[in-house]
Symmetry: C2
Subunit: 198 residues, 2 copies
């Protein structure tokens, strides 16, 4: 089947995927653009893994100021090309991430940014808690490990449940965007201000 260039262009704009990939998706979907988007999403799962690690230094700086102007978030999300930075799906992802930060107050992007001494102190607290609950010694370590995972899930943006779909993590959402959009995407940094906070 010959795929019209206009359809390729539209799919490319919609998903940010490459020209060849869009042609392939449209061919496989007989030119049905919604089916092609789904095809890219499914097909993209495997491709996403390959894209992680590619240099991402384009992107957007975006801010969300909560009504009342007492809470504000600014975030930088990187992708590989300026083309994708202007893609509506990428823009939506960035907006969702900013809302996530406003709503769930993470302190860092990912677990490698949690200082080791913070984890040590936290482990110590959790261990004493578990002991205080009268848990047997042989399961305390397991309990502490489990609760440390939960701790990461609270403080790390990427490990938080996504506020718009609590069954998925923020990381899941980013991975899906990498798959559909076809470029590596990196949440580089964010800052959250609360009036009178630190």
């Amino acid at each position: 089947m010959e795929v019209p260039a206009s359809l390729v262009k539209e799919l490319r704009f919609k998903t940010g995927a490459g020209v060849m990939q869009c042609k392939e998706a449209l061919t496989a979907s007989n030119g049905d653009i919604e089916a092609a988007v789904r095809w890219l999403r499914e097909k993209g799962g495997a491709a996403a893994a390959k894209r992680v690690g590619r240099v991402a230094k384009e992107g957007l700086i975006y801010s969300y100021i909560h009504p009342g102007s007492k809470i504000g978030v600014m975030i930088e999300v990187n992708c590989e090309t300026d083309f994708v930075a202007r893609n509506p799906q990428f823009e939506q992802l960035v907006k969702d991430l900013a809302m996530q930060v406003a709503a769930s107050s993470p302190t860092c992007v990912s677990r490698d940014q949690v200082p080791a001494d913070v984890i040590e102190v936290e482990k110590d607290i959790l261990k004493k808690q578990a002991e205080g609950e009268g848990k047997p010694a042989q399961v305390i370590e397991k309990i502490v490990t489990g609760r440390i995972e939960k701790f990461y899930g609270q403080v790390c943006l990427l490990e938080q449940p996504f506020v718009k779909d609590m069954n998925r993590s923020v990381q899941d959402m980013v991975t899906e965007a990498i798959a559909t959009i076809g470029e590596n995407i990196v949440v580089r940094r964010f800052v959250r201000y609360q009036l009178g906070g630190d």
Copy 2:
């Protein structure tokens, strides 16, 4: 002269000044609101000094994203009451401050936030520069002190020349706002992101 309550209200909304002060200003200006604003501005100069140091924990969080979304600024500016936080003059001040940060990239709010070791290193560099320029030993210290002042004027937001009026410093503008608005105003913190920057 009897001052109409509606005029007091308008002046109060315009400047954020207290009721008594607005009445006084309008009486002195024969009910001319523009003259009353000027009166408050001049009269306020002395009052501003008294207001500095009063607790300011209300205010606004505001962000400015430069067109293209590659530079962003978020800022928190405090005042004493939520009433003033919603005052248009205060809002304009906050906007001007955010634009200032976007345009002039300060690294901190005021000179007390510049780490002592940064100043030591800078002094060392400046001293060697002055020596390299063959300046006599007895004036080098003076030169270094002068250039350190210039350095503060570059890195500290409050000491920068105000981009909308380079004859005044940002501090002058804030002091004027304290005088006119009638509350202490504190630039609490800001952050400036540039795409791909640190």
